[in-house]
Symmetry: C2
Subunit: 252 residues, 2 copies
């Protein structure tokens, strides 16, 4: 049985609490947040507190707080033998206070406030100062059904950056597509199966090998047709940059 | 029973043949291609020909040929009462020869050479010169399990353009992410669940409403960290443009 104290009450903290609470091998001893309000709905499931000086002893303290708060919160933790983990993609493991055993437990996924998340679909990037602490991180992840990947801080930062491309930037391309379809009063719904298929294709094959389209073929006629259709300068800039990017990748 | 002649032997033609062949309400009378070679594997399933002057009578001739070939092929068809359809997203319905009943049957999806495609996941955009011809197009699509959307030529062109953003450009972002992870010798696999979840999210909610990340929050600290990490000028240009695009969309 792994005993855990969760710190923070955001999206990730809440998803972690739910997953930990369900796992038979994990006991959530306590849940801390500066304000008790967001913890209200869970107060019958675990002990909640807003007093950081009264944290219970546990195997693991997991900090699911904002990046900027990690160093500050970790310096205020009561002394003890616990392993202190942060959950951020871009913060160094060395931001954690030196008095503790330290590690990182970074779930690489996008969490929605209301939708539940199956942690089988959440890869967890783990890192520890002392490699003796790795097994318990693996157990913690396994208990909620997640796969773990041992990555160092540079690799984690690269993943965090790459995640912006495949999540935020990709989603912005969907937004631009939405604007384009709306401008012609046509349903964005028509594009949804293509969006899903595009994501499914790269589950098995590399993005390089599945690329198609006018830029890959260097089909100037279609590219020029498209550029003529684009009256939004902003959409056009994205079209031009990504077309040149594809050409570069495929040696056109 | 709808009788069909297929023209062309590319990816789409082959997927359409397989779907039509399986559908009990459709009979593929003949399959034409300039060269018989790609039709070899199917010659026991339907009549194949490379002689456009000897096409059989059928309810529908479906042109799954390259955009540039549509006008030429349609002008060489034998006279008859068939409905002639092209399958392109960017070619006008008026490129088809005027002597025939004309329509467009544009499947908005990405097809792989080897993977099979369930046409339930392929929305078909339909258009006809004469609205009396619409019902048979709907029947044809329904017979292979596809949903139809009636769109005019301008709308179809907008969809074709938007499809480049959600398919080719999105896939290129996956490629950039692949390059970033490779540069730190970390597995691209770790990003795959996030890629899938990003596509799933917009199946139910708008891309606008699900956006997250440093650009949306105008989190300059993280943005600057990311820009510093990017040593590839090309990756950096994409980061900057899409960050400014997200800021614009979300009024930052």
């Amino acid at each position: 049985m792994i005993s855990v104290v969760i710190l923070g009450a955001g999206n990730l903290a809440t998803h972690l609490f739910k997953a930990f609470h369900k796992a038979s091998e994990i006991s959530v001893k306590q849940w801390f947040n500066r304000s008790l309000k967001p913890l209200e709905p869970y107060k019958n499931l675990t002990e909640t507190t807003d007093d950081i000086t009264s944290l219970k002893a546990a195997d693991i303290y997991i900090l699911a707080v904002s990046d900027d708060a990690i160093a500050g919160v970790s310096s205020k933790l009561p002394t003890g033998n616990q392993l202190v983990l942060h959950t951020s993609g871009s913060v160094s493991i060395h931001d954690l206070d030196k008095s503790y055993k330290r590690g990182v437990f970074y779930p690489l996924q996008t969490f929605s406030k209301n939708a539940s998340m199956d942690f089988a679909n959440v890869p967890i990037c783990i890192e520890t100062i002392d490699k003796k602490d790795l097994p318990v991180l693996k157990e913690l992840a396994a208990a909620i059904g997640s796969k773990t990947y041992k990555v160092n801080s540079d690799q984690r930062r690269a993943l965090h950056l790459a995640a912006v491309y495949v999540n935020n930037f990709t989603n912005q391309l969907f937004r631009v597509a939405h604007e384009i379809t709306e401008s012609q009063s046509v349903e964005f719904d028509i594009l949804k199966p293509l969006i899903l298929e595009t994501a499914k294709k790269v589950q098995e094959l590399s993005p390089y090998s599945v690329q198609t389209g006018p830029a890959k073929r260097n089909d100037k006629k279609t590219i020029n047709k498209h550029l003529k259709l684009l009256d939004n300068e902003h959409h056009k800039a994205i079209y031009e940059l990504l077309t040149s990017s594809i050409k570069k990748t495929h040696g056109r």
